[in-house]
């Protein structure tokens, strides 16, 4: 599988994501510059974390208009796999590829901490190999990560099993205390109805190196690679 990581000028998790895919997982990765229009035949595109164009206005508000996004949007609308992590998730919501919005954390503070989450839907390419019973410990790091959607949208998300992850405590209970940013219904990540566009606030690429004492994020990437093996096998 050929991965493409989009690089906006203010992306700052691009190197981490590329390092994981290329060095740890041995995958082919290309860098997709925000001013370009060529997706270089990638099979899976990732919008990494960061502050795309400074994000002084509202996270992701400008990025959706960038040159590369025209191609990314049409790629995804045609069923291509697209994952947005943190700022990437914010951009996907701004671009209307995923429903809802990411609001300022209620504390009005940036928060960086390990969060726990549980997989809610295992029938996607990013969650198929993740144990839904075991809470994953994955870092969050954002100022605008409070997921919000209207009651109607939430009903749709739940009815269609589009909630990928919810914040939980270490024992897997969905509590208020374990919700680091006040996200509605503890939602940490969602997908579209077509199950090819994914967004999540936590950073699985930061929990994928045994030297850092936590590999809980690896299973998300391994799910993607496993799906590829299944297709190719």
């Amino acid at each position: 599988m050929k991965f493409g990581v989009v690089i906006f000028p203010g992306s700052n998790c691009d190197h981490d994501t590329i390092y994981l895919l290329r060095n740890t997982l041995g995958q082919e990765v290309v860098e997709l510059w925000h001013k370009d229009h060529d997706l270089q035949n990638c099979d899976f595109i990732i919008l990494p974390g960061g502050f795309s164009y400074g994000d002084y206005l509202r996270s992701g508000a400008i990025a959706r208009f960038s040159p590369i996004m025209r191609e990314v949007i049409s790629f995804a609308e045609n069923g291509g796999y697209l994952l947005g992590i943190c700022n990437g998730f914010q951009i996907l919501c701004e671009a209307g590829l995923l429903p809802g919005a990411l609001l300022h954390n209620p504390s009005r503070k940036f928060i960086c901490t390990n969060s726990c989450l549980k997989v809610q839907a295992t029938d996607t390419i990013v969650t198929a190999q993740v144990d839904p019973d075991r809470p994953l410990r994955i870092p969050v790091a954002h100022g605008e990560g409070s997921y919000y959607a209207s009651a109607e949208v939430l009903r749709e998300l739940n009815d269609n099993n589009q909630v990928l992850f919810r914040y939980c405590d270490a024992d897997g209970n969905f509590t208020e205390e374990s919700n680091p940013n006040g996200s509605v219904e503890n939602i940490a990540g969602i997908c579209n109805r077509g199950r090819n566009i994914f967004g999540m606030m936590p950073h699985p690429e930061r929990a994928a190196d045994p030297l850092l004492g936590n590999v809980d994020g690896l299973s998300i990437f391994q799910s993607i690679l496993q799906a590829q093996d299944t297709v190719e096998g």
């Binding site: 000028p9 998790c13 790091a141 850092l212 936590n214």
Partner: protein, 745 residues
């Protein structure tokens, strides 16, 4: 130029001394015009020239086998870490801007220190900071603290470099004048660095990055006759930071260095264009012609001296090899950054500035800079009376408390000791995927060096109370603690950067503190073989109400783990493990947090400290780690042994069962802060090997007890459970700072 000749009165308003004004006239052979006088006033300020400190700074050890760029040679120190890599690191203060405007003051401090790193070609990989505020329960201090922490976070998080360690300390003496010190650490391959120099007649001089505005122009503005009250209003005193521009500047700068087109480069921080021009030209022994009207500006009608002195952020000055202009311009175009040729390198040593073709200033570069013509002063100093008074203290004057548990809770919940989670959770510490302490807390920040087996350890340390009590020993202790933290985390101390925060140097008692601190730093750095690679001096930290702040020579230390497997956490691992104390318990509570805030005794000497013993203790622990005989190491510092044990127990919700030493008072044993002690834990099956190994060293050590599953037991008596104290320790600061918000909610 002649129509704007200056007078002594103007010079003094700009902060220059009469003899300095005379010296300028002598250098130029004429009376300077206002532009030139402004240039000298900023370049000869303490900030740029170190005129009141350099004599003493030169006594610090600066040589070592790993040194690649020594103190004073470049924008930051550079040391060899092996595998063809060099580490560039530096600490800097932003105290006064932060006192006025905490958010932007702190943010631009982070921006400035990172530019010092990447202007040398190194990519920043980790940041640290050292903060001091007044009583955190007071609203104004909370305002300062919220602003500073948010400023550091917003800038550093967007810039995208993890903050991996730091310290926060509270004392009333910092109420008006908080201290904000920021450190950055970067990596570069040997041979891919850039130097702050300028040569090659005809080479173009570029300014790149943000446009220049009237921000951060200091005293000059208020002394100029050309400035009306009305126009002074649009001169912000504090610079405004833009981390997005900084991120673009970082990437573009590293690309342009890699292109091979760069002759020399320096960021623009204090004193703006003039500082970069003069330091680079003096170093490269050439002159420069600069056309100020070609500098991209963000407001109209800027005067020559305003452009010269502006401290607008996120800018770099680059001297490019003639003929390679297109390469450079293409890179900055890619990153959508300003990139303008503003002049060229000339023969000789003159810096000549033009505005629309007219010469507006003409000065010799060398006359402006440290090591050149900048003045150097020897200030007088005098031992203050309090120093001897402190030594009158004896432990017998203090009654031992009956209720030890009350003291324990007081300390565990004291803002100086309790978790700084409220602060550090606002900093991105996991970006970069190098931080080894995210899931295994340690005494120092430890980061992987990707592509190698190595890791870096780093820490910032200074107990301002100790330094006030005894500047020489207190500063030696700051170095010792930094080294101890590196050693406990599994590293080898390598080099030091310092941030010297003191009061007014013209006050002989303040200057005595400075001189003594330098002496202490010098002897400790010699002992640990950690040369001082540079840093920053910040004088005038005081207010009329409270006098000078505690003298605070913050030590930023870098260490190397040749193999990352030696990384050692401070956390106890499992019940049943044995707890040993390496080092000696002393009947000493001097300058401890316990004495200061429980007994409210403010005057006592610094805690007991013996530099040679300290070194020996560190060597033992270093070897225990190399021999794989211990599972955790955590030094005894603020709050004493009890707090150390608590901090080792909390990460895994463990407890401890220990015995005190009959020969030492119980409060001294548990809460005293005598130096050179490290708590380690040993698996019971390794006890014999551990004891055999310890027999090789002439260092005191003792068995304290064992790790258990969550009870806090001392001499058979229970002092509660870990969960209870952990809640207090983790949330004390949060409760102080968020109580109002929660009450409203």
């Amino acid at each position: 130029m002649e129509d704007q000749l200056t007078t002594l009165e103007t010079a003094q308003k700009l902060g220059l001394l009469p003899e300095e004004f005379e010296k300028i006239k002598e250098i130029l052979g004429r009376t300077p015009n206002f532009n030139e006088l402004s240039i000298y006033s900023v370049m000869w300020s303490e900030h740029c020239s170190y005129k009141n400190s350099i004599i003493w700074l030169k006594t610090l050890p600066k040589d070592g086998p790993r040194m690649l760029a020594k103190a004073g040679e470049e924008n930051a120190g550079m040391v060899d870490i092996g595998d063809g890599l060099a580490c560039v690191f530096k600490i800097e203060s932003h105290n006064h801007p932060s006192a006025l405007e905490p958010y932007q003051g702190a943010a631009t401090g982070v921006g400035g220190i990172n530019r010092d790193i990447f202007t040398m070609g190194a990519r920043p990989i980790a940041q640290l900071n050292s903060l001091r505020f007044g009583d955190p329960t007071l609203p104004r201090n909370q305002w300062l603290m919220r602003g500073v922490v948010k400023g550091i976070g917003d800038y550093g998080n967007a810039f995208g470099i993890p903050t991996v360690a730091g310290e926060v300390f509270f004392d009333d003496c910092f109420t008006v004048n908080p201290l904000v010190n920021a450190m950055s650490v970067g990596l570069v391959e040997h041979g891919k660095t850039a130097s702050a120099t300028s040569y090659g007649v005809g080479n173009p001089v570029y300014i790149v990055g943000s446009a220049t505005g009237k921000d951060g122009i200091h005293g000059a503005a208020f002394a100029s006759k050309d400035i009306t009250e009305e126009s002074a209003k649009d001169l912000p005193a504090v610079q405004v930071g833009d981390p997005f521009q900084e991120k673009l500047l970082l990437e573009a700068t590293l690309e342009v260095i890699a292109s091979g087109a760069v002759v020399g480069m320096q960021d623009m921080g204090a004193a703006g264009i003039i500082c970069s021009n003069s330091e680079m030209s003096a170093k490269g022994e050439h002159g420069m012609d600069i056309h100020l009207d070609r500098v991209p500006v963000r407001q109209e009608n800027m005067l020559p001296w305003e452009i010269l002195l502006s401290e607008s952020q996120e800018r770099m000055l680059i001297v490019v090899e003639k003929g390679k202009e297109a390469v450079v311009e293409e890179i900055f175009e890619k990153w959508d950054l300003n990139c303008a040729i503003i002049g060229e390198v000339t023969e000789g040593d003159r810096l000549r500035y033009f505005m629309h073709g007219e010469l507006v200033a003409d000065v010799p570069a060398d006359s402006l800079v440290l090591g050149g013509g900048a003045p150097v002063y020897q200030r007088s100093f005098k031992e203050p009376a309090y120093f001897k008074e402190n030594k009158q203290f004896a432990i017998d004057q203090v009654e031992e408390p009956k209720d030890l548990k009350a003291v324990m809770l007081h300390l565990a919940g004291h803002p100086n000791i309790a978790s700084k989670r409220w602060v550090y959770n606002q900093y991105d510490s996991t970006i970069g995927t190098v931080n080894m302490t995210t899931n295994a807390p340690a005494d120092a920040g430890v980061t992987l060096v990707k592509g190698t087996e190595r890791a870096l350890a780093m820490t910032v340390d200074c107990n301002s109370r100790y330094v006030w009590a005894d500047p020489q020993e207190g500063c030696a202790m700051a170095v010792a603690e930094a080294a101890r933290n590196i050693v406990c985390a599994g590293g080898e101390p390598v080099a030091v950067t310092n941030c010297l925060n003191f009061g007014n140097p013209y006050n002989p008692e303040v200057y005595w503190q400075f001189v003594e601190a330098i002496k202490g730093m010098a002897k400790a750095c010699e002992k640990f073989q950690t040369p001082v690679t540079g840093g920053n001096v910040s004088f005038y930290n005081q207010s009329s109400d409270e006098g000078p702040v505690f003298p605070t020579p913050t030590i930023g230390m870098l260490g190397v783990l040749d193999n990352r497997d030696t990384f050692t956490s401070l956390a106890f691992r499992q019940p049943g493990d044995l707890i040993y104390l390496i080092g000696e318990s002393k009947n000493d509570i001097a300058s401890s947090q316990y004495l200061y805030s429980w007994h409210k005794i403010r005057q006592s000497p610094a805690p007991f400290f013996d530099l040679d013993k300290e070194f020996d203790v560190q060597q033992v622990v270093k070897n225990l780690i190399l021999e794989n005989l211990i599972d955790s190491a955590h030094d005894v510092s603020d709050g004493g042994l009890y707090i150390t044990l608590l901090e080792s127990a909390m990460p895994r919700n463990l407890g401890f069962d220990i015995s005190t030493d009959m020969s030492v008072r119980k409060d001294a044993f548990l809460f005293g802060e005598s130096q050179s002690r490290i708590v380690v834990s040993v698996k019971s099956e390794l006890q014999e090997q551990f004891l055999e190994f310890m027999a090789n060293f002439d260092v005191e050590y003792s068995l304290l007890g064992t790790v258990n599953d969550g009870d806090l037991i001392i001499d058979g008596e229970s002092f509660g459970e870990i969960e209870e104290v952990k809640d207090l320790y983790h949330n004390a600061l949060h409760r102080i700072l968020e109580s109002e918000t929660e009450a409203q909610a």
